[in-house]
């Protein structure tokens, strides 16, 4: 998704934007607990005991496979040529550029609310996000892992939040000066590195 951000103009519309639900691969019954991606061992303990690493990669690969099935993204590296991705980023949001849930920041932290999810009605992108939300994760990280622009991730997260599948914690409000205890914790955390 990097590069000039110029998507193919005019001419072809992306072929099958949405596939019939029946053709979709049934997702796993529950999101596998995800290990952080290459997190430091110390960090892992904080973020929670982890399943074998690669959960995030699996979710991203799953998403890329779906895109391939749509005749869009070929999933290879580099992700796409100068012409940009074949599926426009906002196709997956149904053209929406504003999330239903306002106030999501790039470092808002989100987490799935429950283990059991009715995966049936979920679009692949929603499902991919939900899988990565098995542990607290930021909007920016989701965007990087799924190779989707942050605005798109925010829209999709807004759907999941509205649906009660995901909870978000906003970052420190800009108006509030940082608490001394937070600053001290950050200081100690950096010293420990």
């Amino acid at each position: 998704m990097r590069g000039a951000g110029e998507h193919r103009r005019g001419g072809q519309r992306p072929a099958h934007v949405r596939e019939p639900a029946a053709e979709r691969e049934p997702p796993p019954a529950a999101p596998a607990p995800l290990g952080g991606w290459d997190a430091a061992p110390g960090a892992e303990a904080v973020w929670g005991a982890s399943a074998p690493a690669g959960g995030a990669r699996d979710a991203a690969e799953e998403l890329l496979r779906h895109r391939r099935q749509r005749g869009g993204h070929d999933g290879s590296l580099p992700r796409h040529g100068a012409a940009g991705p074949l599926v426009r980023p906002y196709t997956v949001t149904g053209g929406r550029t504003r999330p239903a849930e306002a106030g999501l920041d790039m470092i808002s932290i989100v987490v799935a609310t429950r283990e059991r999810v009715d995966w049936g009605p979920l679009e692949p992108e929603h499902a991919a996000i939900l899988r990565l939300c098995g542990r607290p994760v930021s909007v920016a990280e989701l965007s990087a892992q799924l190779d989707l622009p942050m605005t798109v991730v925010k829209v999709l997260l807004g759907d999941l939040i509205a649906n009660g599948d995901v909870l978000a914690r906003a970052p420190m409000p800009a108006s509030d000066p940082p608490h001394m205890s937070v600053l001290q914790a950050v200081l100690d955390g950096i010293r420990r590195l």
Binding site: M106, M150, V186
Partner: protein, 212 residues
């Protein structure tokens, strides 16, 4: 660090008792700014617990152009790439380090980036010190605390911090740190100088360690 509590992060729904999401950590961020190629991502990578990730934001901007297509306002979109890293401070706090786009034309994004930031590191290269001036201006105008870190490139002129302070024209309270963005300890010292600076500004009584 591995306590029973830490399991909650991977067991959504299995959260015992407390409200779901009660263990969502608070995110804070520090910006790393400076001219193009000055070593922002290198600094982020040297302290981040993950390989720096890259994300992008598609920004829409009203065009300044003169083309008027039947009253339809021309909009242009620009894709802005951001590199960032993460430091898990503890179970309650996670710190993100964002390398800010170096090019001037991405400035319209900085307001969103800067919102709520703890502070900023302005990376400077003494061979082309002027490339850090816009970042210094930006943070001064918005009263965002920052430190100037002079990245010591091979072959860079050997300036003292006082000379850099005069050249960049920042107040005596702004820490100026000589650094090597590739070196974790050095980058840690830069971040520590920043956080201590932020704490001093918050509470003059709480002076941290002397600055390096």
């Amino acid at each position: 660090m591995a306590s029973a509590d830490s399991d909650n992060g991977t067991a959504p729904g299995a959260d015992p008792g407390g409200e779901p999401g009660g263990h969502i950590p608070l995110a804070v961020k520090i910006l790393v700014a400076g001219g193009f190629g000055v070593g922002k991502t290198t600094l982020v990578g040297s302290v981040s617990e993950i390989e720096p990730l890259s994300t992008e934001e598609v920004m829409t901007e009203a065009s300044m152009g003169v083309d008027d297509l039947g009253g339809v306002e021309e909009k242009t979109t620009t894709t802005v790439a951001l590199d960032f890293g993460r430091i898990t401070v503890n179970q309650q706090v996670v710190l993100y380090l964002f390398g800010t786009p170096g090019q001037g034309r991405f400035w319209f994004m900085w307001d969103e980036l800067a919102e709520g930031a703890l502070g900023a590191v302005v990376l400077a290269d003494t061979r082309r010190l002027d490339t850090c001036f816009p970042a210094v201006d930006f943070f001064e105008r918005r009263r965002i605390p920052f430190v100037v870190a002079v990245n010591l490139f091979d072959g860079a002129y050997d300036y003292g911090t006082q000379e850099v302070r005069e050249a960049v024209d920042v107040g005596a309270d702004v820490p100026i740190v000589l650094s090597d963005a590739r070196d974790r300890e050095s980058s840690k010292a830069v971040l520590l100088a920043l956080v201590e600076h932020v704490m001093r500004r918050r509470s003059p009584a709480t002076t941290g360690r002397p600055l390096p």
